[in-house]
Assembly symmetry: D2
Homo-oligomer: 132 residues x 4
Amino acid sequence: MIETTTSIRVRYCETDQMGTFYNARALDWFEVGRTELLRSTGVPYAEAEMRGIMLPLVQAHLNFTGRAKYDDKLLITTTVQIEGKASLRFDCRICHEYSGRPVADGYTVHAITDTAGKPTRPPKWLMELLGK
Amino acid sequence: MIETTTSIRVRYCETDQMGTFYNARALDWFEVGRTELLRSTGVPYAEAEMRGIMLPLVQAHLNFTGRAKYDDKLLITTTVQIEGKASLRFDCRICHEYSGRPVADGYTVHAITDTAGKPTRPPKWLMELLGK
Amino acid sequence: MIETTTSIRVRYCETDQMGTFYNARALDWFEVGRTELLRSTGVPYAEAEMRGIMLPLVQAHLNFTGRAKYDDKLLITTTVQIEGKASLRFDCRICHEYSGRPVADGYTVHAITDTAGKPTRPPKWLMELLGK
Amino acid sequence: MIETTTSIRVRYCETDQMGTFYNARALDWFEVGRTELLRSTGVPYAEAEMRGIMLPLVQAHLNFTGRAKYDDKLLITTTVQIEGKASLRFDCRICHEYSGRPVADGYTVHAITDTAGKPTRPPKWLMELLGK
């Protein structure tokens, strides 16, 4: 299974008046995780789109397990698997880089579509990238 | 059960290069729904915070069921219920105002805490607001 | 001169850990002002794009003149004028609805381009909308 | 004069339906530049806040000079200077890492305040950091 870990810092614009990150920012960070995972396969998502494959989100689940403040360094660990005939599922776990304390985890499910948004079976190159 | 419906327009800043809204924006819109639901009870969330009650998100689930473009008018329908001893669950459904076509639905679960973030049982005024 | 005023509420996701709105949100609100101004002319921006006219930002200036908290009701007042041969300038002023206290003001300058991004003279319908 | 350069990638959530980054995101990126500049002085902004100094934005100016797509690698170059008695001015220039093509530039002016928001002269440690 492909697993990648990438590091970010919490931006001031990602905090809210509770003093931790605003909840929706976790979905932005999940995206950073997916981007780096796909890059590690050799086909960045931007190139997948150029090859005619899009991965629109159809479902997301998030658990908020801890706080993170401005400028905290976080690790995003992401894995991916094919789900059903025309979906990908990315699992994501975010924790503090130094302490390992958890921040958020969850998953996103993506349709595999052509550029017109029509669901399509994963092309051969995508199956091979994902080790199938 | 309390149910409120509120209306928004998709902002340009909420779109992405797929030409629909960026997924995390749905969580922002769920927040608009919660804000208007709480206002309708007579105790806006800003006042709840002043009374010492915070509602940090602990879980969120989203289904993306349709597209929405810049300037589309959307309806956000929200309900709330007490879950367990110290949690609230808001269910949210977003659709196009004119056609009724679905855009997204899901729920968020919130801890009920004091301003220090310690879980607390819902105070009497909150129970009464929620009709318990 | 065309001038429109529209009203918004500060969203929780627009606050930051200083307890006021995050600075970049003011640019989102300027956009809301432009959208409503253009709607008032009878040609919403979404329709202008369908007619082949885009208005990418080329310059923005912002003065931050006061605080605004979550759920505060703000008024956005916007005016527009043609600048040079192929530009529009929108001036924007944001204040608290009840007290009138200022929050932010500034302007944005937009190129008038075709959908390929090439600068173009304002078409006749746009000139007429703007009262020229 | 202190000058730092830091590198980011454009996130999907930062694009809009024009296919380039949404204009307000440039202010987020200016913030990344300021954060890294202050870190390079030995006193990260998070620590400055702990020492009782805040730097709320009072003015921002942006020129949008080029496009940037999802996943493009950008360089943010930032400098800082003291302006008047109780202000800092950060100048910022964003360009594509590989081609050097410009994306945006501008500046932000920040009041120097205590944690209550009251303007204050820059403390000695801040003057020394900035080489005065």
